[in-house]
Protein backbone atom coordinates (compact mmCIF):
# COMPACT_ATOMS: atom_id res chain seq x y z
CA UNK A 1 0.00 0.00 0.00
CA UNK A 2 1.18 3.54 -0.78
CA UNK A 3 2.46 5.83 1.93
CA UNK A 4 -0.11 7.62 4.12
CA UNK A 5 0.40 11.30 3.42
CA UNK A 6 -2.26 12.55 5.81
CA UNK A 7 -3.01 10.88 9.13
CA UNK A 8 -5.56 12.01 11.68
CA UNK A 9 -5.14 10.30 15.06
CA UNK A 10 -7.90 10.66 17.65
CA UNK A 11 -8.52 14.18 16.44
CA UNK A 12 -11.14 16.63 17.70
CA UNK A 13 -12.02 19.48 15.35
CA UNK A 14 -14.21 22.48 15.97
CA UNK A 15 -14.50 26.22 16.22
CA UNK A 16 -13.90 28.63 19.13
CA UNK A 17 -12.85 25.71 21.33
CA UNK A 18 -16.15 23.87 20.81
CA UNK A 19 -15.68 20.49 19.10
CA UNK A 20 -17.81 19.63 16.07
CA UNK A 21 -16.22 16.20 15.58
CA UNK A 22 -14.29 14.09 18.10
CA UNK A 23 -12.23 10.92 18.04
CA UNK A 24 -11.49 11.09 14.31
CA UNK A 25 -8.94 8.59 13.06
CA UNK A 26 -8.42 8.39 9.33
CA UNK A 27 -5.59 8.39 6.82
CA UNK A 28 -5.19 9.31 3.17
CA UNK A 29 -2.74 7.26 1.11
CA UNK A 30 -0.78 8.62 -1.84
CA UNK A 31 -2.63 8.18 -5.14
CA UNK A 32 -6.03 7.59 -3.51
CA UNK A 33 -9.28 9.34 -4.46
CA UNK A 34 -11.64 9.66 -1.52
CA UNK A 35 -15.13 11.12 -1.53
CA UNK A 36 -16.23 12.63 1.79
CA UNK A 37 -20.01 12.44 2.15
CA UNK A 38 -22.64 13.20 4.73
CA UNK A 39 -25.68 15.31 5.53
CA UNK A 40 -25.47 19.10 5.67
CA UNK A 41 -23.65 20.40 8.72
CA UNK A 42 -22.14 17.02 9.66
CA UNK A 43 -18.57 18.38 9.51
CA UNK A 44 -17.26 17.31 6.09
CA UNK A 45 -15.74 20.71 5.31
CA UNK A 46 -14.35 20.86 8.85
CA UNK A 47 -12.40 17.64 8.23
CA UNK A 48 -11.07 19.04 4.95
CA UNK A 49 -9.99 22.25 6.69
CA UNK A 50 -8.33 20.22 9.43
CA UNK A 51 -6.34 18.27 6.82
CA UNK A 52 -5.26 21.51 5.11
CA UNK A 53 -4.18 23.07 8.42
CA UNK A 54 -6.79 25.81 8.12
CA UNK A 55 -8.15 24.88 11.54
CA UNK A 56 -5.98 23.37 14.24
CA UNK A 57 -7.10 20.23 16.09
CA UNK A 58 -8.55 20.80 19.56
CA UNK A 59 -7.23 17.37 20.48
CA UNK A 60 -5.14 14.65 18.85
CA UNK A 61 -2.64 14.88 16.03
CA UNK A 62 -2.73 15.55 12.30
CA UNK A 63 0.35 14.45 10.38
CA UNK A 64 0.85 15.58 6.77
CA UNK A 65 4.16 14.28 5.40
CA UNK A 66 5.23 12.90 2.01
CA UNK A 67 8.75 11.56 1.53
CA UNK A 68 9.85 13.34 4.69
CA UNK A 69 8.59 16.71 3.44
CA UNK A 70 5.46 18.63 4.46
CA UNK A 71 2.57 17.88 2.13
CA UNK A 72 1.76 20.63 -0.37
CA UNK A 73 -1.97 21.25 -0.53
CA UNK A 74 -4.06 22.32 -3.46
CA UNK A 75 -7.13 23.61 -1.63
CA UNK A 76 -10.28 24.42 -3.57
CA UNK A 77 -12.72 26.16 -1.22
CA UNK A 78 -16.45 26.38 -1.65
CA UNK A 79 -17.02 28.84 -4.46
CA UNK A 80 -19.30 31.00 -2.31
CA UNK A 81 -16.44 31.46 0.17
CA UNK A 82 -14.65 33.67 -2.34
CA UNK A 83 -16.84 36.68 -2.90
CA UNK A 84 -14.30 38.76 -4.74
CA UNK A 85 -14.41 42.53 -4.42
CA UNK A 86 -10.86 42.87 -5.76
CA UNK A 87 -11.02 43.34 -9.55
CA UNK A 88 -8.76 40.35 -10.23
CA UNK A 89 -8.45 38.74 -13.63
CA UNK A 90 -8.69 34.99 -14.14
CA UNK A 91 -4.91 34.79 -14.48
CA UNK A 92 -4.32 36.79 -11.30
CA UNK A 93 -6.61 34.45 -9.34
CA UNK A 94 -4.80 31.37 -10.66
CA UNK A 95 -1.44 33.02 -9.97
CA UNK A 96 -2.24 32.99 -6.23
CA UNK A 97 -1.53 29.27 -6.27
CA UNK A 98 2.17 30.01 -6.69
CA UNK A 99 2.33 32.37 -3.69
CA UNK A 100 3.06 29.50 -1.30
CA UNK A 101 6.43 28.73 -2.87
CA UNK A 102 7.36 32.28 -3.85
CA UNK A 103 8.82 33.94 -0.76
CA UNK A 104 7.59 37.25 0.67
CA UNK A 105 8.81 40.20 -1.36
CA UNK A 106 9.89 38.01 -4.26
CA UNK A 107 8.23 38.57 -7.62
CA UNK A 108 6.60 35.66 -9.43
CA UNK A 109 9.00 34.54 -12.14
CA UNK A 110 8.31 34.14 -15.84
CA UNK A 111 8.61 30.35 -15.49
CA UNK A 112 5.97 30.30 -12.75
CA UNK A 113 3.69 32.47 -14.87
CA UNK A 114 4.00 30.00 -17.71
CA UNK A 115 3.16 27.16 -15.31
CA UNK A 116 0.04 29.02 -14.24
CA UNK A 117 -0.94 29.52 -17.88
CA UNK A 118 -0.46 25.77 -18.42
CA UNK A 119 -2.70 25.04 -15.40
CA UNK A 120 -5.40 27.30 -16.84
CA UNK A 121 -5.08 25.55 -20.19
CA UNK A 122 -5.34 22.20 -18.38
CA UNK A 123 -8.77 23.13 -17.01
CA UNK A 124 -9.91 24.61 -20.33
CA UNK A 125 -9.58 28.25 -19.28
CA UNK A 126 -6.38 29.12 -21.13
CA UNK A 127 -8.04 31.72 -23.36
CA UNK A 128 -9.84 33.58 -20.59
CA UNK A 129 -6.84 34.73 -18.55
CA UNK A 130 -7.55 38.42 -19.07
CA UNK A 131 -11.23 38.24 -18.19
CA UNK A 132 -12.48 39.50 -14.87
CA UNK A 133 -12.92 36.54 -12.49
CA UNK A 134 -16.28 37.85 -11.27
CA UNK A 135 -17.64 37.97 -14.82
CA UNK A 136 -17.38 34.16 -15.19
CA UNK A 137 -20.15 31.60 -14.73
CA UNK A 138 -20.19 29.35 -11.65
CA UNK A 139 -18.69 26.40 -13.50
CA UNK A 140 -15.95 28.54 -15.06
CA UNK A 141 -15.04 30.03 -11.68
CA UNK A 142 -14.81 26.54 -10.25
CA UNK A 143 -12.39 25.54 -12.99
CA UNK A 144 -10.25 28.61 -12.30
CA UNK A 145 -10.13 27.71 -8.61
CA UNK A 146 -9.02 24.20 -9.54
CA UNK A 147 -6.31 25.72 -11.79
CA UNK A 148 -5.22 27.86 -8.84
CA UNK A 149 -4.95 24.75 -6.67
CA UNK A 150 -2.91 23.01 -9.41
CA UNK A 151 -0.59 26.03 -9.63
CA UNK A 152 0.44 25.28 -6.04
CA UNK A 153 2.06 22.08 -7.35
CA UNK A 154 0.07 20.00 -4.86
CA UNK A 155 0.70 16.54 -3.48
CA UNK A 156 -2.89 16.46 -2.29
CA UNK A 157 -5.92 18.08 -3.91
CA UNK A 158 -8.65 19.01 -1.41
CA UNK A 159 -11.96 19.99 -3.00
CA UNK A 160 -14.80 21.38 -0.91
CA UNK A 161 -18.11 20.80 -2.73
CA UNK A 162 -16.79 21.65 -6.21
CA UNK A 163 -20.11 20.64 -7.83
CA UNK A 164 -22.47 22.66 -5.66
CA UNK A 165 -24.47 25.51 -7.16
CA UNK A 166 -23.64 24.73 -10.78
CA UNK A 167 -25.85 23.19 -13.47
CA UNK A 168 -25.67 19.51 -14.39
CA UNK A 169 -23.70 20.08 -17.59
CA UNK A 170 -21.05 22.15 -15.82
CA UNK A 171 -20.94 19.63 -12.94
CA UNK A 172 -20.24 16.84 -15.43
CA UNK A 173 -17.38 18.83 -16.99
CA UNK A 174 -15.89 19.58 -13.55
CA UNK A 175 -16.14 15.94 -12.48
CA UNK A 176 -14.49 14.79 -15.71
CA UNK A 177 -11.74 17.35 -15.12
CA UNK A 178 -11.11 16.19 -11.54
CA UNK A 179 -11.06 12.56 -12.67
CA UNK A 180 -8.60 13.36 -15.47
CA UNK A 181 -6.30 15.28 -13.14
CA UNK A 182 -6.32 12.39 -10.68
CA UNK A 183 -5.61 9.81 -13.34
CA UNK A 184 -3.10 11.72 -15.49
CA UNK A 185 -1.12 13.25 -12.65
CA UNK A 186 -1.64 10.53 -10.07
CA UNK A 187 -2.90 13.31 -7.84
CA UNK A 188 -4.13 12.23 -4.42
CA UNK A 189 -7.62 13.67 -4.09
CA UNK A 190 -10.13 14.19 -1.28
CA UNK A 191 -13.44 15.65 -2.36
CA UNK A 192 -16.46 16.73 -0.36
CA UNK A 193 -19.62 16.29 -2.40
CA UNK A 194 -23.35 15.72 -2.37
CA UNK A 195 -23.50 14.51 -5.96
CA UNK A 196 -23.82 10.76 -5.43
CA UNK A 197 -24.72 10.11 -9.06
CA UNK A 198 -21.59 11.85 -10.30
CA UNK A 199 -19.46 9.82 -7.85
CA UNK A 200 -21.04 6.50 -8.86
CA UNK A 201 -20.28 7.22 -12.52
CA UNK A 202 -16.58 7.77 -11.84
CA UNK A 203 -14.41 4.70 -11.49
CA UNK A 204 -11.56 6.92 -10.32
CA UNK A 205 -13.25 7.40 -6.94
CA UNK A 206 -11.83 4.53 -4.93
CA UNK A 207 -13.19 5.04 -1.46
CA UNK A 208 -16.06 6.79 0.26
CA UNK A 209 -15.99 8.11 3.79
CA UNK A 210 -19.38 8.86 5.31
CA UNK A 211 -19.50 11.38 8.14
CA UNK A 212 -22.45 10.24 10.21
CA UNK A 213 -23.39 11.35 13.72
CA UNK A 214 -19.83 12.41 14.42
CA UNK A 215 -18.31 9.11 13.29
CA UNK A 216 -16.48 8.14 10.09
CA UNK A 217 -17.53 5.11 8.09
CA UNK A 218 -15.15 4.13 5.30
CA UNK A 219 -15.33 1.62 2.49
CA UNK A 220 -15.26 0.96 -1.27
CA UNK A 221 -17.59 2.91 -3.54
CA UNK A 222 -19.87 -0.03 -4.42
CA UNK A 223 -20.65 -0.74 -0.76
CA UNK A 224 -20.77 2.80 0.54
CA UNK A 225 -22.97 4.10 -2.25
CA UNK A 226 -25.41 1.19 -2.22
CA UNK A 227 -28.98 2.52 -1.89
CA UNK A 228 -29.62 1.10 1.61
CA UNK A 229 -26.34 2.57 2.89
CA UNK A 230 -27.11 5.97 1.38
CA UNK A 231 -30.58 5.89 2.91
CA UNK A 232 -29.15 5.00 6.32
CA UNK A 233 -26.45 7.66 6.17
CA UNK A 234 -28.72 10.42 4.96
CA UNK A 235 -31.58 9.67 7.37
CA UNK A 236 -30.62 12.56 9.60
CA UNK A 237 -31.27 14.90 6.71
CA UNK A 238 -34.36 13.10 5.39
CA UNK A 239 -35.91 12.48 8.78
Amino acid sequence: MAEAIVTLQDVALGYDGIPVLEGLTVDVHAGNFIALLGPNGCGKSTILKGMAGIIQPLHGRIRCVLNGQPVRFGYVPQREAIEMVFPLTVFQVALMGTYGRVGPGRPVTHVEREQVQACLADVGMGDLGRKLFTSLSGGQRQRVLIARALAAGPDLLLLDEPLSGIDLGAAKIIMELITRLHQDRGLTTVMVSHHLKALREREAVREVVWVHEGKLLRGPVATMLAPDMVFRMMDAEIG
Binding site: I54, P77, I82, P87
Partner: protein
Protein backbone atom coordinates in the same frame (compact mmCIF):
# COMPACT_ATOMS: atom_id res chain seq x y z
CA UNK B 1 -4.61 77.50 -16.82
CA UNK B 2 -2.94 80.53 -15.23
CA UNK B 3 -3.90 79.18 -11.80
CA UNK B 4 -2.42 75.80 -12.63
CA UNK B 5 0.85 77.37 -13.81
CA UNK B 6 0.96 79.52 -10.69
CA UNK B 7 0.48 76.65 -8.23
CA UNK B 8 2.99 74.47 -10.09
CA UNK B 9 5.64 77.17 -9.84
CA UNK B 10 8.51 76.07 -7.58
CA UNK B 11 8.29 79.35 -5.66
CA UNK B 12 4.55 79.07 -5.03
CA UNK B 13 3.92 80.01 -1.41
CA UNK B 14 1.56 77.12 -0.65
CA UNK B 15 3.56 74.49 -2.53
CA UNK B 16 3.93 72.27 0.55
CA UNK B 17 0.15 72.07 0.91
CA UNK B 18 -0.12 71.08 -2.75
CA UNK B 19 2.66 68.49 -2.43
CA UNK B 20 1.08 67.09 0.76
CA UNK B 21 -2.26 66.73 -0.99
CA UNK B 22 -0.61 65.04 -3.97
CA UNK B 23 1.26 62.54 -1.76
CA UNK B 24 -1.98 61.59 0.00
CA UNK B 25 -3.88 61.62 -3.30
CA UNK B 26 -1.49 59.06 -4.79
CA UNK B 27 -0.99 56.70 -1.83
CA UNK B 28 -4.28 56.80 0.13
CA UNK B 29 -6.34 55.21 -2.71
CA UNK B 30 -3.91 52.26 -2.78
CA UNK B 31 -4.65 51.67 0.91
CA UNK B 32 -8.36 52.27 0.29
CA UNK B 33 -8.46 49.40 -2.23
CA UNK B 34 -7.83 46.99 0.67
CA UNK B 35 -10.53 48.63 2.81
CA UNK B 36 -12.99 48.12 -0.04
CA UNK B 37 -11.82 44.58 -0.74
CA UNK B 38 -12.18 43.61 2.93
CA UNK B 39 -15.58 45.28 3.11
CA UNK B 40 -14.25 47.59 5.80
CA UNK B 41 -15.40 50.88 4.31
CA UNK B 42 -17.14 51.81 7.53
CA UNK B 43 -13.80 51.38 9.32
CA UNK B 44 -12.41 53.86 6.78
CA UNK B 45 -14.94 56.41 8.06
CA UNK B 46 -14.50 55.61 11.74
CA UNK B 47 -10.69 55.51 11.94
CA UNK B 48 -10.10 59.10 10.69
CA UNK B 49 -12.71 60.28 13.21
CA UNK B 50 -10.99 58.30 15.98
CA UNK B 51 -7.64 59.69 14.84
CA UNK B 52 -9.06 63.23 15.12
CA UNK B 53 -10.26 62.46 18.65
CA UNK B 54 -6.68 61.40 19.41
CA UNK B 55 -5.38 64.75 18.12
CA UNK B 56 -7.87 66.67 20.25
CA UNK B 57 -7.06 64.52 23.31
CA UNK B 58 -3.31 65.12 22.88
CA UNK B 59 -3.78 68.89 22.67
CA UNK B 60 -6.11 69.04 25.66
CA UNK B 61 -3.83 66.75 27.66
CA UNK B 62 -0.85 69.02 26.94
CA UNK B 63 -2.80 72.17 27.78
CA UNK B 64 -4.04 70.65 31.04
CA UNK B 65 -0.60 69.58 32.26
CA UNK B 66 1.69 72.15 30.64
CA UNK B 67 -0.43 75.12 29.52
CA UNK B 68 -0.41 76.72 26.07
CA UNK B 69 2.69 78.80 26.65
CA UNK B 70 5.05 76.05 27.69
CA UNK B 71 4.60 73.76 24.68
CA UNK B 72 8.03 72.24 24.16
CA UNK B 73 7.03 70.07 21.19
CA UNK B 74 5.52 71.14 17.91
CA UNK B 75 1.76 70.92 17.44
CA UNK B 76 2.33 68.48 14.61
CA UNK B 77 4.35 66.04 16.71
CA UNK B 78 1.86 66.28 19.55
CA UNK B 79 -1.02 65.66 17.17
CA UNK B 80 0.87 62.79 15.52
CA UNK B 81 1.43 61.06 18.85
CA UNK B 82 -2.22 61.46 19.89
CA UNK B 83 -3.52 60.39 16.50
CA UNK B 84 -1.21 57.37 16.23
CA UNK B 85 -1.76 56.08 19.77
CA UNK B 86 -5.56 56.18 19.58
CA UNK B 87 -5.74 54.85 16.02
CA UNK B 88 -3.48 51.89 16.76
CA UNK B 89 -5.16 51.18 20.11
CA UNK B 90 -8.52 50.92 18.35
CA UNK B 91 -7.11 48.81 15.49
CA UNK B 92 -5.48 46.45 17.99
CA UNK B 93 -8.67 46.20 20.05
CA UNK B 94 -10.79 45.47 16.98
CA UNK B 95 -8.27 42.91 15.69
CA UNK B 96 -8.27 41.11 19.06
CA UNK B 97 -12.06 40.97 19.14
CA UNK B 98 -12.07 39.71 15.54
CA UNK B 99 -9.59 36.96 16.42
CA UNK B 100 -11.78 35.88 19.32
CA UNK B 101 -14.41 35.20 16.72
CA UNK B 102 -16.58 38.17 17.61
CA UNK B 103 -16.38 39.59 14.11
CA UNK B 104 -15.55 43.05 12.88
CA UNK B 105 -19.05 44.10 13.83
CA UNK B 106 -20.44 47.14 12.09
CA UNK B 107 -22.30 48.02 15.28
CA UNK B 108 -19.04 48.15 17.22
CA UNK B 109 -17.36 50.34 14.60
CA UNK B 110 -20.42 52.58 14.37
CA UNK B 111 -20.41 53.00 18.14
CA UNK B 112 -16.70 53.92 18.07
CA UNK B 113 -17.37 56.47 15.31
CA UNK B 114 -20.17 58.11 17.30
CA UNK B 115 -18.17 58.13 20.53
CA UNK B 116 -15.05 59.50 18.81
CA UNK B 117 -17.09 62.30 17.25
CA UNK B 118 -18.73 63.17 20.56
CA UNK B 119 -15.44 63.04 22.49
CA UNK B 120 -13.76 65.29 19.90
CA UNK B 121 -16.50 67.92 20.25
CA UNK B 122 -16.44 67.75 24.07
CA UNK B 123 -12.65 68.09 24.14
CA UNK B 124 -12.83 71.06 21.77
CA UNK B 125 -15.47 72.69 23.94
CA UNK B 126 -13.18 72.42 26.94
CA UNK B 127 -10.20 74.17 25.35
CA UNK B 128 -10.49 77.20 23.05
CA UNK B 129 -6.98 76.98 21.57
CA UNK B 130 -7.38 73.30 20.72
CA UNK B 131 -10.78 74.09 19.23
CA UNK B 132 -9.28 76.52 16.71
CA UNK B 133 -6.56 74.09 15.63
CA UNK B 134 -8.75 71.02 15.34
CA UNK B 135 -11.62 72.87 13.65
CA UNK B 136 -9.23 73.69 10.82
CA UNK B 137 -8.46 70.00 10.61
CA UNK B 138 -12.14 69.05 10.57
CA UNK B 139 -12.81 71.55 7.77
CA UNK B 140 -9.94 70.16 5.73
CA UNK B 141 -8.14 73.51 5.49
CA UNK B 142 -4.89 72.45 3.86
CA UNK B 143 -2.98 75.72 3.79
CA UNK B 144 0.40 75.79 5.44
CA UNK B 145 2.48 72.66 5.92
CA UNK B 146 6.00 73.23 7.30
CA UNK B 147 8.87 71.45 5.53
CA UNK B 148 9.43 69.03 8.41
CA UNK B 149 5.78 67.92 8.39
CA UNK B 150 5.88 67.41 4.64
CA UNK B 151 9.06 65.37 5.06
CA UNK B 152 7.44 63.15 7.72
CA UNK B 153 4.41 62.68 5.45
CA UNK B 154 6.66 61.88 2.49
CA UNK B 155 8.67 59.32 4.47
CA UNK B 156 5.61 57.72 6.06
CA UNK B 157 3.65 57.45 2.82
CA UNK B 158 6.79 56.46 0.92
CA UNK B 159 7.25 53.55 3.32
CA UNK B 160 3.59 52.59 2.83
CA UNK B 161 4.00 52.64 -0.95
CA UNK B 162 7.09 50.43 -0.74
CA UNK B 163 5.40 47.94 1.63
CA UNK B 164 2.28 47.75 -0.54
CA UNK B 165 4.43 47.11 -3.60
CA UNK B 166 6.89 44.62 -2.10
CA UNK B 167 4.28 42.57 -0.21
CA UNK B 168 1.51 42.98 -2.76
CA UNK B 169 0.95 39.27 -3.34
CA UNK B 170 0.82 38.37 0.37
CA UNK B 171 -1.59 41.20 1.19
CA UNK B 172 -3.85 40.31 -1.74
CA UNK B 173 -3.83 36.62 -0.82
CA UNK B 174 -4.81 37.10 2.85
CA UNK B 175 -7.45 39.61 1.78
CA UNK B 176 -9.03 37.53 -0.98
CA UNK B 177 -8.76 34.02 0.48
CA UNK B 178 -7.51 33.60 4.05
CA UNK B 179 -8.13 29.85 4.04
CA UNK B 180 -6.04 29.31 0.95
CA UNK B 181 -3.31 31.51 2.44
CA UNK B 182 -3.18 29.26 5.53
CA UNK B 183 -3.18 26.10 3.39
CA UNK B 184 -0.16 27.54 1.52
CA UNK B 185 1.66 28.03 4.82
CA UNK B 186 1.29 31.81 5.08
CA UNK B 187 1.21 33.43 8.53
CA UNK B 188 -2.01 35.35 8.06
CA UNK B 189 -1.78 37.06 11.45
CA UNK B 190 1.56 38.64 10.47
CA UNK B 191 0.19 39.88 7.14
CA UNK B 192 -3.02 41.10 8.77
CA UNK B 193 -0.98 43.06 11.30
CA UNK B 194 1.12 44.56 8.51
CA UNK B 195 -1.99 45.61 6.60
CA UNK B 196 -3.66 47.08 9.68
CA UNK B 197 -0.39 48.85 10.51
CA UNK B 198 -0.31 50.38 7.02
CA UNK B 199 -3.94 51.48 7.36
CA UNK B 200 -3.20 52.94 10.81
CA UNK B 201 -0.15 54.93 9.68
CA UNK B 202 -1.89 56.14 6.51
CA UNK B 203 -4.87 57.43 8.45
CA UNK B 204 -3.10 58.86 11.49
CA UNK B 205 -0.61 60.77 9.29
CA UNK B 206 -3.09 61.74 6.59
CA UNK B 207 -5.67 63.09 9.02
CA UNK B 208 -3.10 65.57 10.36
CA UNK B 209 -2.60 67.03 6.90
CA UNK B 210 -6.02 66.91 5.26
CA UNK B 211 -8.48 66.10 8.07
CA UNK B 212 -10.85 63.14 8.54
CA UNK B 213 -13.38 63.94 5.79
CA UNK B 214 -10.79 64.38 3.05
CA UNK B 215 -8.82 61.37 4.26
CA UNK B 216 -11.89 59.17 3.94
CA UNK B 217 -12.64 60.70 0.54
CA UNK B 218 -9.17 59.88 -0.80
CA UNK B 219 -9.28 56.36 0.66
CA UNK B 220 -12.56 55.40 -0.95
CA UNK B 221 -13.61 57.48 -3.97
CA UNK B 222 -10.57 57.06 -6.30
CA UNK B 223 -10.63 53.23 -5.94
CA UNK B 224 -14.36 53.25 -6.71
CA UNK B 225 -13.68 55.28 -9.88
CA UNK B 226 -10.75 53.04 -10.83
CA UNK B 227 -12.86 49.90 -10.29
CA UNK B 228 -15.21 51.19 -13.01
CA UNK B 229 -12.43 52.03 -15.47
CA UNK B 230 -9.87 49.24 -15.19
CA UNK B 231 -9.59 45.46 -14.97
CA UNK B 232 -6.88 43.69 -13.01
CA UNK B 233 -5.31 44.64 -9.71
CA UNK B 234 -2.31 46.47 -11.15
CA UNK B 235 -4.38 48.54 -13.57
CA UNK B 236 -6.92 49.46 -10.90
CA UNK B 237 -4.11 50.52 -8.54
CA UNK B 238 -2.48 52.70 -11.20
CA UNK B 239 -5.77 54.32 -12.22
CA UNK B 240 -6.75 54.91 -8.56
CA UNK B 241 -3.42 56.62 -7.85
CA UNK B 242 -3.66 58.74 -11.02
CA UNK B 243 -7.26 59.74 -10.19
CA UNK B 244 -6.23 60.59 -6.60
CA UNK B 245 -3.34 62.74 -7.82
CA UNK B 246 -5.51 64.41 -10.46
CA UNK B 247 -8.23 65.21 -7.95
CA UNK B 248 -5.67 66.57 -5.46
CA UNK B 249 -4.12 68.83 -8.13
CA UNK B 250 -7.36 70.02 -9.73
CA UNK B 251 -9.05 70.38 -6.33
CA UNK B 252 -6.20 72.54 -5.07
CA UNK B 253 -6.35 74.70 -8.21
CA UNK B 254 -10.13 75.19 -7.90
CA UNK B 255 -9.90 75.91 -4.18
CA UNK B 256 -7.07 78.43 -4.72
CA UNK B 257 -8.88 80.14 -7.56
CA UNK B 258 -12.29 80.29 -5.86
CA UNK B 259 -10.97 80.74 -2.31
CA UNK B 260 -12.69 77.55 -1.10
CA UNK B 261 -11.37 75.16 1.57
CA UNK B 262 -9.12 72.67 -0.27
CA UNK B 263 -10.22 69.41 1.37
CA UNK B 264 -13.97 69.64 0.73
CA UNK B 265 -13.21 70.86 -2.81
CA UNK B 266 -11.11 67.71 -3.41
CA UNK B 267 -13.85 65.41 -2.13
CA UNK B 268 -16.62 67.19 -4.06
CA UNK B 269 -14.52 67.04 -7.22
CA UNK B 270 -13.88 63.31 -6.71
CA UNK B 271 -17.63 62.84 -6.31
CA UNK B 272 -18.27 64.71 -9.57
CA UNK B 273 -15.70 62.54 -11.39
CA UNK B 274 -17.34 59.36 -10.00
CA UNK B 275 -20.78 60.58 -11.09
CA UNK B 276 -19.50 61.48 -14.59
CA UNK B 277 -17.86 58.08 -15.01
CA UNK B 278 -21.02 56.29 -13.84
CA UNK B 279 -23.24 58.34 -16.17
CA UNK B 280 -20.80 57.85 -19.07
CA UNK B 281 -20.86 54.08 -18.55
CA UNK B 282 -24.64 54.02 -18.33
CA UNK B 283 -24.93 56.01 -21.56
CA UNK B 284 -22.46 53.72 -23.30
CA UNK B 285 -24.32 50.61 -22.13
CA UNK B 286 -27.61 52.10 -23.36
CA UNK B 287 -26.06 53.01 -26.71
CA UNK B 288 -24.69 49.50 -27.21
CA UNK B 289 -28.09 47.99 -26.30
CA UNK B 290 -29.79 50.24 -28.87
CA UNK B 291 -27.15 49.33 -31.46
CA UNK B 292 -27.81 45.60 -30.89
CA UNK B 293 -31.57 46.08 -31.32
Amino acid sequence: MDTLLEILNSHFLLRNALHGGLIIGIVAPLVGIYLLARRMVFLGVALPQISTAGVAAAFVWHTYFHGHQSRDVSDFMLALVGSTILTFAVILGLALLERRGRGLGEGRIGMLYAIAGAVTILLLASDRVTEIGVLGLLKGEIIAIPDIELLILFLGYGAILILLTVFHKELVLVTVDREMAISLGKHVLVWDMLLFGIIGVAISLGVLVVGPLVMFGFLIVPPLIAGRLAIGMRNVSIVAAVVGAGVALAGFAFAYRLDWPTGPTDVALAGVVLALVAVGQAVRALASRIAVQ
